[in-house]
């Protein structure tokens, strides 16, 4: 397929995942705020900024109202939901004939919904309802995509975008959270958590749509940082774990390699394979010494995979491609 089309599909997918993640994060944060005192809001909102890779500022954040506005509607912020959905829709629009009409209708519907909501409407109505709509809107899009689009090259690019973004965003979220709440030098068995921190850890799980799944694997009384890290990083069955995302990315990239018959895909496959293998064989006990370094490494690998995808399939230099053509001719 045209490189430009692959590019658009990939970014459409990444932006949608980003929007869903942001919606979930804000929703959970607003909810948690209800149990906390006002003066504790500042650190929370700075953490939120950091989790979404937005640079921290020294401006005192006015209120949850203004930060909600910032991350939902502010289109100059590239991490806002409004920006992400608009960008996803624009990408979809550029390749409209490559996606099914049902997909287009759904993304358009979601876009119009957000465009037609104002911060005041959101705030004084039920913020939760709004964020649920965003999440469900994206999830519906995913379902429609799987059901109406051929699972061919374009679909695989959508998968890669989805899971690379998830892996990257989840590892960033974990990293910020652990830096705040986890003291690894405390003890070598599970750290005691006081009742306020307990809610923060539950909040982390909920932000990853993983609380209930986690409780099935461990029990609710067992909210412990290492177990949570283990679940969110390494669990093979949870669709929200970073290991799962790495596996899905690798599978999709392998399918793309098969579809394109390109010879240069070795590097991107090695990078994807290495990420997945690392997550398959590492154990939480080995990483708690320096969980920050481990998570940072994951983000770096995601970034490398992203760059390799571009180098291999989209922005490859002409002379490399021509050499390959020449040598490939029978």
């Amino acid at each position: 397929m045209l490189s430009r089309v692959a590019d658009n599909l990939y970014w459409m997918s990444r932006y949608l995942e980003r929007a869903e993640h942001t919606a979930r994060l804000i929703d959970v944060s607003l909810h948690q705020m209800l149990d906390h005192r006002m003066q504790e809001e500042q650190p929370r909102w700075q953490r939120l900024r950091a989790s979404l890779s937005t640079p921290a500022t020294n401006d005192k954040v006015d209120s949850s109202y203004s930060i909600t506005e910032l991350f939902t509607f502010e289109t100059s912020t590239t991490t806002s939901i409004g920006y992400a959905i608009a960008a996803a829709r624009e990408n979809a629009r550029q390749v409209r004939e490559q996606i099914s009409s049902e997909m287009w209708e759904q993304i358009n519907r979601l876009y119009l919904q957000i465009k037609q909501t104002s911060i005041d409407e959101l705030w004084f109505a039920q913020p939760h309802a709004f964020f649920s709509n965003v999440k469900e809107g994206v999830q519906l899009f995913r379902g429609i995509t799987d059901a109406t689009m051929n699972h061919s090259e374009g679909w695989h690019f959508i998968r890669v975008g989805n899971f690379i973004e998830r892996a990257s965003a989840t590892s960033t979220l974990l990293d910020v959270h652990y830096q705040t709440f986890f003291e690894s030098e405390q003890s070598d068995h599970q750290t005691a958590i006081d009742h306020l921190n307990y809610q923060d850890w539950v909040g982390l799980l909920r932000s990853c749509a993983s609380f209930e799944a986690y409780c099935k694997v461990y029990t609710a009384a067992s909210i412990q940082p290492e177990r949570i890290a283990e679940f969110l990083l390494f669990n093979a069955e949870s669709p929200r774990s970073i290991y799962f995302a790495a596996g899905m990315s690798q599978t999709a990239l392998q399918s793309i390699a098969r579809a394109t018959h390109i010879r240069r895909h070795g590097r991107v496959e090695r990078l994807a394979g290495r990420l997945r293998a690392g997550l398959e064989y590492d154990q939480v006990e080995d990483i708690t010494q320096d969980i920050h370094a481990y998570l940072e490494n994951i983000q770096r690998q995601c970034s490398q995979i992203h760059n390799a995808i571009y180098q291999t399939y989209m922005v490859y230099p002409i002379d490399v491609a021509l050499r390959e053509r020449a040598s490939g001719r029978a």
């Binding site: 045209l2 009409s101 579809a259 399939y313 989209m314 002409i318």
Partner: protein, 490 residues
């Protein structure tokens, strides 16, 4: 059933009660206000269908267009927005005999036009023989000196043409203008047929309407025929300016119908005079480009340098014979409205035949005598800029204001080469279903002519309707609508 009254209005039975007759040819009714033979069945069906049902059918049609996203971008409103394709329920019917003349006439015309283009870019016999003034050709904006001496596949410059026909008050079809650069509208012709089949299959069954489903195949075959014989499995692409273009829907529609890749300029690159497209599987050579971009924007190295829509190096690849273009660069000379006035002579010159389809009388204001006449009669004439399309740059004398006429007077005096004038025509009118009754509106007809290794004309065309009462402007970019167009088997 027809009760004539002294007011000159018809008193036809409902839903035709508001049907008025004027000086123009009426597609459906003859001078005695009886339905013409080809329209009899339709007339009687319409008498039996209640207006509410017709209204419902019209809404069904609109819904189909809406759901499929069949739109057109209209400029000139406050928002240049996508509007759903305005479609009129009632088909326009053309008999087999009428079509036969059109087919022969259009074939003759496209053949002559291609011979003309070949000649002016090579040996210029027609210019040396002074049949067409050399200055007229050279001063045409769309004459591309870069094409001098360049050979094009099959000598086919215009591989896809759309010629606008009008029916004069005597019932004869005449050519209003040729569109030979990037003619559009065929997707709407096809969509109109699809919608008609879905909402009124019973109408279809009772008539014997020639099929047009093969257009996509015919177009593809035409494009394939342009490929070099040395390339057995040619790669064909459709080059679009992108999503913001008014006709983007048509570009995606045709690409899908033909199963070819839809590309933008940025997907293509020229290397060693060969055109490639950038795919995830590497670079893929391109053999034939159906380009929906005007010459000016095709190659920033040669034409408009600020354009980002084209492909740098495309012209050189074209000149080297490594890629074919439909339509050829420089074809625009032949649809210049001043050159149009010479078409009858051009046909006679190359084919030794009289034109089967007549031209409309045209005044060339670059000639002093003709210019004087035109300036004295601006209120009666239609003045057009020679290189425009879409109904822009046009003055319709009888409907104009004094300021508009003055503006055009200045333009003509300043730049006579670039204007022509024609008498205001009474375009024929066809019945349209508007707000619960049937009224006539002005129509024209744009058939699409394919010219590759053979000439193929799909039996139909885009019938465009000036939806506003009294309006003569049918162009969709200014809010006109269209009808399904039927050519009968007999």
């Amino acid at each position: 059933m027809v009760i004539s009254d002294t007011s000159g209005q018809s008193a036809l039975p409902p839903p035709f009660a508001h049907y008025d007759f004027a000086n123009s040819y009426d597609e459906m009714f003859d001078v005695h206000k009886h339905p013409r033979p080809a329209y009899q069945k339709l007339f009687h069906s319409l008498l039996e269908i209640p207006a509410e049902m017709l209204h419902q059918l019209q809404q069904d049609a609109d819904l189909i267009f809406l759901n499929q996203g069949i739109t057109f971008t209209v400029y000139g409103n406050d928002e240049g927005t996508e509007r759903i394709w305005p479609y009129d329920l009632l088909p326009r019917i053309i008999t087999a005999q009428e079509w036969d003349i059109l087919e022969r006439g259009l074939t003759q015309r496209i053949t002559a036009l291609n011979l003309f283009l070949k000649d002016i870019y090579h040996d210029e016999h027609i210019l040396r023989d002074k049949v067409v003034p050399r200055a007229l050709v050279y001063s045409c904006h769309h004459y591309r000196h870069q094409m001098r001496g360049v050979n094009v596949p099959l000598n086919s410059y215009v591989s896809i043409g759309g010629t606008d026909l009008v029916r004069l008050p005597d019932g004869q079809f005449a050519v209003l203008e040729d569109n030979l650069r990037v003619p559009s509208g065929v997707s709407y012709m096809l969509a109109n047929r699809e919608v008609m089949k879905r909402i009124l299959p019973s109408f279809f069954v009772s008539h014997a309407v020639r099929s047009i489903e093969h257009y996509g195949q015919a177009l593809l075959n035409t494009l394939i025929s342009l490929a070099s014989p040395a390339r057995p499995n040619p790669t064909i692409v459709l080059l679009t300016p992108g999503v913001y273009n008014a006709a983007y829907f048509e570009h995606t529609f045709l690409a899908r119908q033909m199963g070819i890749e839809l590309v933008e300029g940025r997907d293509l690159l020229a290397h060693d005079n060969i055109i490639y497209m950038r795919t995830t599987g590497g670079l893929r050579r391109v053999d034939v480009i159906y380009r929906r971009i005007d010459d000016d924007y095709l190659d920033p190295l040669i034409f408009k340098s600020h354009s980002s829509l084209g492909v740098p190096g495309l012209l050189n690849a074209y000149r080297a014979g490594n890629v074919a273009l439909a339509n050829a660069i420089g074809s625009g000379v032949a649809d210049d409205k001043a050159i149009y006035a010479y078409l009858p002579k051009i046909i006679r010159y190359y084919l030794n035949e009289d034109p089967i389809l007549p031209n409309i009388e045209t005044y060339l204001v670059s000639d002093d005598l003709q210019r004087r006449y035109v300036l004295e009669n601006l209120d009666k004439l239609v003045v057009k800029a020679v290189g425009e399309s879409g109904g822009y740059g046009m003055l319709i004398g009888p409907y104009s204001t004094a300021e508009q006429r003055e503006e055009f007077r200045q333009r003509i005096i300043a730049d006579p080469r670039n204007y022509i004038a024609q008498p205001t025509l009474a375009l024929s009118r066809a019945p349209c279903f508007l707000e619960n009754h049937i009224e006539p509106r002005h129509v024209d007809l744009r058939p699409f002519i394919l010219h590759g290794d053979q000439v193929t004309i799909v039996p139909s065309g885009l019938t465009r309707v000036a939806l506003q009462r009294g309006s003569l402007v049918v162009n969709s970019s200014q809010g006109g609508g269209s009808k399904d167009t039927w050519v009968l088997y007999e």
